[in-house]
Symmetry: C2
Subunit: 362 residues, 2 copies
């Protein structure tokens, strides 16, 4: 991608240790944008964040790390997608802790398509891998982008199946986006980078750290309308992804199996807890309201809003905008615009972003 001041500022903030997403929200609201946060003096910063964090921000990122990041970003197909980008996955804006920035390699239009996560055990059986690939192929052909975690076993099979259909496949990885992990998935990684997508919230060069994988799972479920679990032991990280899905109001689907197989126990526990038992890809499509034709569902009709609120929604369009922009577009005073935005947020049609921006969701 082309590097402008905004992208460089986001890349710099991304590299600052211990500046949490929550802190960043506070700073962006106060200062307006990533470049403004970085330009703030320590005296201004200490008014809102602890001195240690203010010093970290004022010091800025490690120049070598920033140079590495910017060099990676300059490559074709590579990008940094921040909260206030139109390409940012709108589905992630509905979870409690969306990452401020994502590194992405591939077809970024896939990030705002209807998606289904397919996950399961790394050491799955051959039958389980075949099932994952077959379901992913059928569901991708029906228009769903298949999201998974690029692990061996079920994840890799799901990506392979997803790549065969129109929906393609996106891998959310737990390392820096410049690392291939596990090495056995090198070819698959390259195919995803060309025909699908690779996504990471971690800084370039981040090695495989055990703590990062469960955390990454919230993005796998967050990107998707539902999570399908195929062959998971009770110790599988898939159950963490399914738990995130439940918290994020996503559907949870599980494929049953023999009561004597340890690889069925995870799915069976989920079904007992309310997950939907599925036997065919068609079962998943029906539960998602994608019907028997396999076509995409009609988008939800926007709720009817009265005059001013409708004007604000129309003025917002599909790119993020701030209150000032909306006031000038609509010619309405600040209190009217604010009330309209609250109403739209409550109706689930608009999300508020850091930096005082608003993003239309549908």
């Amino acid at each position: 991608m082309e590097i402008d001041a905004r992208v460089e500022a986001w890349a710099s903030l991304q590299l600052l240790p211990r500046v949490s997403a929550r802190t960043l929200v506070t700073l962006l609201k106060l200062f307006g944008g990533p470049a403004e946060v970085l330009a703030a003096t320590p005296a201004m910063l200490t008014k809102v964040v602890p001195g240690e964090i203010a010093a970290t921000i004022a010091r800025g990122p490690d120049p070598a790390a920033l140079a590495l990041t910017l060099a990676w970003l300059r490559e074709p197909g590579h990008s940094l997608i921040a909260w206030d980008d139109a390409a940012y996955p709108r589905a992630l804006l509905t979870i409690t802790d969306p990452p401020p920035t994502l590194f992405f390699h591939g077809r970024s239009e896939l990030l705002n398509r209807p998606a289904l996560a397919i996950v399961g055990s790394r050491n799955a059986t051959a039958q389980g891998r075949e099932t994952a690939e077959a379901f992913a192929g059928a569901l991708s052909t029906a228009g769903l982008t298949i999201v998974s975690g690029l692990a061996l076993g079920i994840d890799a099979a799901a990506h392979r199946g997803g790549l065969t259909g129109a929906g393609s496949s996106v891998a959310v990885i737990g390392t820096g986006i410049d690392r291939v992990y596990p090495a056995a998935n090198r070819d698959l990684t390259h195919r995803l980078a060309v025909d699908g997508g690779l996504l990471s919230e971690f800084a370039l060069g981040t090695p495989p750290l055990p703590a990062n994988f469960p955390r990454r799972n919230r993005l796998i479920s967050g990107l998707a309308r539902g999570v399908l679990v195929i062959e998971a032991t009770l110790a599988s990280g898939s159950l963490i992804t399914a738990r995130f899905a439940g918290e994020q109001n996503r559907d949870v689907f599980a494929i049953p199996g023999s009561i004597h197989s340890p690889f069925s126990k995870g799915g069976h526990r989920l079904i007992k807890e309310g997950a939907k038992l599925v036997e065919t890809a068609q079962d998943v499509l029906e539960e998602l309201g994608m019907g028997s034709s396999g076509s995409l569902p009609a988008p939800a009709l926007p709720t009817a809003h009265d005059g001013d609120t409708a004007r604000v929604l129309t003025a917002l369009g599909y790119d993020p905008a701030g209150i000032d922009t909306l006031m000038s577009r609509c010619g309405l005073p600040v209190d009217v615009v604010s009330v309209a935005l609250v109403e739209l947020e409550l109706a689930g049609e608009v999300a508020s972003l850091p930096g005082g921006l608003y993003q239309r969701l549908r």
Copy 2:
């Protein structure tokens, strides 16, 4: 059993073709008991039933068939159990169409124990039969009487497992109780007659008629607190039993399996429709409120009733009684006793039987 006038009258009524249970209820209410119905003149009968049925009753049963039935009943361990018998399964009184009479061979005390039905396909896999036998053994050991239909495959395995535990096993058969069907289950039939029970609502000598088996299934579910389906194709009669269980407010349990096996499709359909997925016998016990100890649940405490109602309930005891008997036992007038009985019926503590009798349910 010993044959008295009442038993002979019930056996005679049982043999009359086209006198339905519904007709019998009407007649018993009007005339008071089975012997009184048989003694009624055609003129009296035609006031309440069509002339053809009145003639059938007045003509009485075929003498040879009655002689055969009474000869069978005189054998040790054989009995006829009618609506107004204390041995009649109380669980059956809660279904919409309990048979007026049951032929029984075995330990009749098993008919009023907590029971679980286990059913499945005749041509089940070896694994399925092992699962059925293992579950039945564990659940019988925990105190549940295992009810099934004496078919080959899952049914036979469930009976065999049930016979190994304290709960034992009862077969509800779709032929006359003097027939062994299928012949391959001869040994199992003999073991059930000694250590468990054989039950049939059909006249002696009734051959295996296709229409009788689905009808019989309502008794399998009706006798039980729940129905566990192990290996059932979509064409299996087990799904009929599970449907009856739903209509009768019994729990439905199903064991999952591979999505590629036709023997899992029945159970999976049931789970999709709300049946509970079970992986272990313990799962069944927990759903039935029989906890981790495997012991029987404490009986439900009777609802507290006020003075007169409580007196009527106490006076009723656990054998059927009529209003006149209750009036004399309590010293209360007919309207007070009637109101109390309605209250007790609504509370689910008493069922009204044909012939103006009432039966305490718990």
